[in-house]
């Protein structure tokens, strides 16, 4: 969950969720749910969330976002914090919201890690905004390189967010380190279309697994963009404003976009409901939908809103297909991470494809 998105609050009640316990139903139907932890010696016990997973060279690579806060979310507002029902509990003498990334290769049972470490973001410069680090990083392999792609907001004094692409490698000690970094510009086409100048924050672009340097930037209408590492320009390669799906809450970025069968892509999107209580205090829900695109980037299916584990704030940055299962890594309440193994048949029935 990103704090600055709260600026967009509109009054709205919590709407019913069509599938409030997706993970529970998956477990009942042959799937599996596994907790993912980072040793508290490395985190101080603060939140581990918004994970991503990718199958790279037949090995499951998982990135977990460690946030140096604990999210206080009184979902029923019965025991709200004095500062509101949704509060970031960071050290009282340090208001920054700091992100670290922990990357590793994990076994098929999601029980044993190897090559697991905090990513040494050695290209970092001194942050000048309160959101520090690469947030909501998706793992993707393009051109035989492993990347983390997410939003960074610590490079300007007013917190402008742009997607970045950090190439990571194992160093000589088997620890992950960043070896290159590129800040992805907004496509000119987008700027011309919206005609309002550059956006404040670009985030949650979904990398397309089989198309290097390509992201689904937005899902409704679908906008696909491609970055050229040579020219360092980004172009919109698909956008049809007429193909707009009329929903209460737009699709927002979630997992990577992964090829599905021969003619489709499948991804997880998130759905955000930002609202205020009657007394004007900010609250929110973060849910998901599965979405299926054809190769022309038409939305051909999307599911109803789902919660993985009935938490009001859930977020996923990764999904892959592995040995007959769709594997999803997600976080609840910004504090806890899980991996969900969804049998292919179950998910296909659920989506209706």
């Amino acid at each position: 969950m990103n704090k600055d998105s709260i600026d967009a609050y509109v009054p709205h009640a919590i709407t019913p969720c069509e599938y409030p316990n997706f993970a529970g139903n998956v477990v009942k139907n042959g799937g599996d749910l596994i907790p993912l932890l980072i040793d508290s010696k490395e985190t101080g016990g603060t939140g581990v969330t918004n994970g991503s997973v990718a199958l790279i060279n037949d090995k499951l690579h998982v990135n977990l976002r460690h946030v140096e806060y604990t999210l206080y979310h009184a979902e029923k507002v019965k025991y709200a914090h004095p500062w509101g029902p949704v509060v970031y509990l960071h050290p009282e003498n340090d208001w920054r919201l700091i992100t670290n990334n922990f990357l590793g290769v994990i076994n098929d049972d999601f029980t044993d890690w190897e090559y697991y470490s905090k990513v040494n973001m050695k290209l970092d410069v001194t942050p000048i905004w309160e959101f520090v680090g690469l947030e909501d990083a998706r793992v993707v392999q393009w051109d035989d390189k492993i990347f983390l792609t997410g939003v960074r907001r610590d490079t300007t004094k007013n917190g402008i967010g742009r997607m970045e692409l950090s190439e990571v490698q194992l160093d000589e000690n088997g620890k992950w380190e960043e070896v290159s970094r590129q800040r992805i510009p907004i496509p000119k086409e987008t700027l011309e279309t919206i005609n309002t100048g550059p956006s404040y924050c670009e985030k949650n672009w979904m990398p397309v697994i089989d198309q290097p340097y390509t992201w689904v930037k937005w899902c409704n209408p679908v906008e696909v963009v491609r970055y050229d590492p040579t020219t360092k320009e980004t172009k919109t390669i698909s956008l049809d404003e007429s193909k707009y799906v009329n929903l209460d809450f737009d699709f927002r970025g979630g997992s990577q976009v992964i090829p599905y069968k021969d003619d489709y892509y499948i991804a997880l999107c998130h759905v955000t409901n930002l609202f205020k209580s009657e007394s004007g205090r900010k609250n929110c829900t973060y849910r998901h939908r599965f979405i299926v695109f054809d190769k022309q980037w038409n939305i051909v299916k999307y599911t109803g809103e789902l919660n993985f584990l009935e938490s009001h704030v859930e977020f996923s940055c990764g999904m892959c297909f592995h040995k007959g299962n769709f594997v999803i890594v997600f976080g609840t309440q910004d504090n806890t991470s899980f991996v969900l193994k969804v049998p292919q048949k179950y998910l296909e029935d659920f989506i209706g494809v």
């Binding site: 316990n21 993970a23 529970g24 477990v27 009942k28 749910l33 596994i34 907790p35 932890l37 508290s40 101080g44 016990g45 603060t46 939140g47 581990v48 806060y69 604990t70 999210l71 206080y72 979310h73 009184a74 979902e75 029923k76 019965k78 025991y79 914090h81 004095p82 509990l89 960071h90 050290p91 009282e92 003498n93 340090d94 584990l309 009935e310 938490s311 609840t332 309440q333 910004d334 504090n335 806890t336 899980f338």
Partner: protein
Amino acid sequence: MENKTLKETVIEYSKDPRNADLNFNMGYKYQELNQGASAFSHYLRAAEEGDDLLAYESLIRAQYSIVSQKDRGYTEKYLLKQCIVILPERPEAYYLMAKHYMKRNDHADAYFHFKMAEKLCDFTLPETQPLRTKIGYKNNIHFYIDFATCAWKWDKNEEARTILRMLMKDEIYNSADEEDKKYIRDSIEEVGILGGDTSYTYYKKDLYPKLKYTFEGCENIETNFSQVYQDMFILFMHKGKKNGTFVEVGCGPAVRGSNTYLLESKYNWKGISIDKDPEFAAEQQHRRKSTTIFDDALTIDYESLIAKHLPDVTEIDYLQLDLEPAKNTFECLLSIPFEKYKFGVITYEHDHYIDFTKSYRSKSRRYLTLMGYELVVADVSSEGSCTFEDWWVHPDLVDRDVIDKIKSLEGVVNIKEHMIK
């Protein structure tokens, strides 16, 4: 709590993720693994979905998950405040709040929460409606131990002592575990159970009309000096005798608090005063006429000592035995040459209220009875609860009429009530 793995706990939880009990179990399991943020989310949901008792426990545990992350003190306090609001009659949250403040040396706010709990809480609830897990509230005894410490640090010294005295009552002290017993003992040793002048009970001349036990010359006494009327008792038993003799082991202060200063200064008694404390010994030498011995009372040959300083005497009017701890006083008692000397009056300080063996009072009574002495006033205290002394006489040296008049062997004696109408 069931001994399940985190994975097993998660699978069970996935069946009903808003179930209060399952969320509590998740919180507990993550907390065991020092995963504070994860524990926090689940405890908070358990609180919101559960009944008041579960909410209370969940928020306390949620608070611990924040404590472990450090530097989030405002939220820690707030969570405990919520607990107090939920179940204001339970003591645990007040206690933890007080401890929160004590850690920060804010003894005034800590005291506030201890005191509120004392006034408002039902201290049977931790036993009759126990929580599921240990939440840092050991027991009511520990509550009061920390309360006493807090009160002491906020200069409420007498209140601290009052609490410690309460903890020393047999039924409470005996129910404490060894750790708490030691803590109580150490606290008492550190602060002293009787404190300053407030624990002393002095006779003043204006009380003369109410004085129950009169003796010759008592109408002229402006004030006495003993802690709890011992000097008035001695003079009553000896009917205001002049030129008496005493042996005073563990004499303490020369004047205020002395059992013999009144005897010496107004009734011309003489004797031997023994103390190993150099300050007391120096004060005795400076302000008193009697012989002062600066030595360890347990190493003295009393037969030689008495023979040297009170020659040709076999009957001595008063023996004081007042060492600490109770073991030492009894050991000293065994070294007194009773076969050679008779003592008219003995004040024996058994310190039963801080005798952690609870054995020396009965040992001393058996021994003195065997030596031919009669217990006249048992279990003397300054305030009616902390019994620290017995008063004895030898029936050969004290008249029966005064013995029978003052005798009290039933329960703890509040000395002022016993001596003054």
